[in-house]
Amino acid sequence: MNETIRGLLVKFGNLPVSVDQLQDDSDLYTAGLSSFASVQVMLGIEEAFDVEFPDTMLNRRSFASIAAIEGCVRLLTDREAA
């Protein structure tokens, strides 16, 4: 999952730094993630994991770091499985 998310950040994140250099808990906004790019990454994740972000997850905190995104996706995939 971490790999897929990193791959989507490379593809859609439009970050001025290399995604490899980011720690799982690095702040993505400080790294340069724009709100437009975050939407593109979200769409990529929805497609890759076949999930839909509920509105309660559509805020800055959900996309603040790779770990935060992973947490959201895990919550959503667990919910689907249950």
């Binding site: 939407v39 509105d55 559509l58 905190r61």
Partner: protein, 393 residues
């Protein structure tokens, strides 16, 4: 400035109406000469309206956005420039009230604003960036507890008249363009070199000249929170709701003039309905739409206020952006309609039904953070955010 005037115990509305009376008297001259509405702002100071948003514990009155928007509307009916100065001051003040309480310097500064009725200016717009306020080129240089900043600030309303300027920049020299901070600089901590003169179609009295800003201040004057959070959690709502309050005021005054015109005609020819009456009915529905939209926005803000998570959610941004889009577009149609009703008497300057100033002033609304820019942000969010279809929200 410390104005030693004893204010009788009266409501905010009464105080706002006293300012509006002064603002209305000077509105045409302020517009014609593109000069700062000094008397209206001095009366705001005398009525102590610049500190109303500050918590009571710090010497203010703890007024919420709804009360402040009402004052914006009352002033907007008299003089759009005076109303916009008041609105922009309170938009900046909302950043302090919502995000400055954890910081001793900002808390003390709020006490000073309330006591001395200081006027706050704003410098987000930058040469090469335009209205994309979540990006900066300039960077704060912090060393030895001192913050230095130079910014090509292409629009700073009443820059020459502000007592302090709240200005955005990148957080440090290596920060990416979206990693921003906002800093308060006091008047004696900066110089402004004029680069553009504000000679515009409307909103002329806001004196929104361009300046090269150079400031040096203690680093504790930088807001402790990233600007991205300030922008999302208070500035977006404050700007769209308080600007809309001003714009509603301009449109409401235009409709009042049109109604006076129709009623005067009706009284001259009892028994017949004047030709403008139908258009007046039509324009009243548009005005009601704008009002309801702003009131709903104010309610949504009140409900979300306590929860930073909700304030920074997409649903909330979409709602606030839509308030701005609706009011800025509809007021143009409203003033135009009022002009059709009043005819030449509306087109001409110096009649009781003149609408030229209103029409020119409302044209600024769509450009004040370009509606195209806002629409494209909403468009992007709607790719993932699903609209709430319930009636009552």
């Amino acid at each position: 400035m410390n104005v030693a005037v004893v204010i009788p115990d009266t409501s905010l509305e009464t105080r706002a109406r006293r300012v509006a009376a002064v603002a209305a008297r000077q509105a045409d001259a302020v517009d014609a000469r593109a000069c700062f509405p000094r008397e209206a702002v001095d009366t705001m100071i005398a009525e102590r309206l610049l500190g109303i948003q500050i918590p009571v514990s710090l010497g203010g009155e703890g007024a919420g956005f709804a009360e402040i928007a009402e004052v914006c509307s009352i002033l907007g009916q008299a003089c759009a420039a005076s109303a916009m100065v008041f609105a922009m001051h309170h938009i900046k003040l909302s950043s302090l009230v919502e995000h400055g309480l954890e910081s001793p310097w900002h808390t003390q500064f709020m006490r000073r604003i309330a006591a001395e009725q200081l006027l706050l200016g704003s410098a987000t717009t930058e040469g090469g960036i335009g209205g994309n306020l979540r990006n900066s080129i300039c960077a704060a240089e912090v060393a030895g507890g001192i913050c230095r900043l130079e910014k090509d600030a292409t629009v700073i309303s009443y820059g020459d008249h502000a007592d302090a300027i709240l200005i955005t920049s990148r957080a440090h020299a290596d920060a990416v363009s979206t990693d921003q901070v906002m800093t308060v600089f006091l008047k004696d901590q900066y110089t402004l070199e004029k680069t553009h003169v504000w000679d515009t179609l409307g909103m002329r009295g806001t004196c929104s000249d361009g300046f090269l800003f150079r400031g040096v201040a203690p680093a504790e004057q930088i807001f402790p929170k990233p600007f991205a959070e300030i922008a999302a959690q208070s500035m977006l709502a404050a700007s769209h709701l308080l600007w809309s309050g001003v714009w509603y005021g301009i449109a409401a005054d235009a409709v009042a003039r049109a109604q006076a015109f129709v009623r005067a005609a009706a009284r001259k020819t009892p028994g017949t309905t004047p030709p403008g009456a139908l258009r007046l009915a039509e324009v009243s529905t548009m005005l009601q739409t704008v009002r309801s939209n702003i009131v709903a926005g104010l309610k949504a803000y009140e409900e979300a206020k306590a929860d930073p998570e909700r304030l920074s959610s997409m649903g909330f941004s979409v709602a606030m952006n839509n308030v701005k889009l609706c009011s800025s577009e509809t007021i143009l149609a409203i003033v135009n309609h009022a002009m059709l009703i009043c005819g030449i008497m509306g087109y001409k300057n110096g009649t009781p039904f003149s609408l030229g100033r209103h029409l020119r002033d409302v044209h600024s609304a769509q450009l004040m953070i370009s509606n195209d820019r806002i629409l494209s942000n909403v468009a992007s969010m709607l790719l993932v955010h699903k609209l709430d279809n319930s009636l009552l929200g």
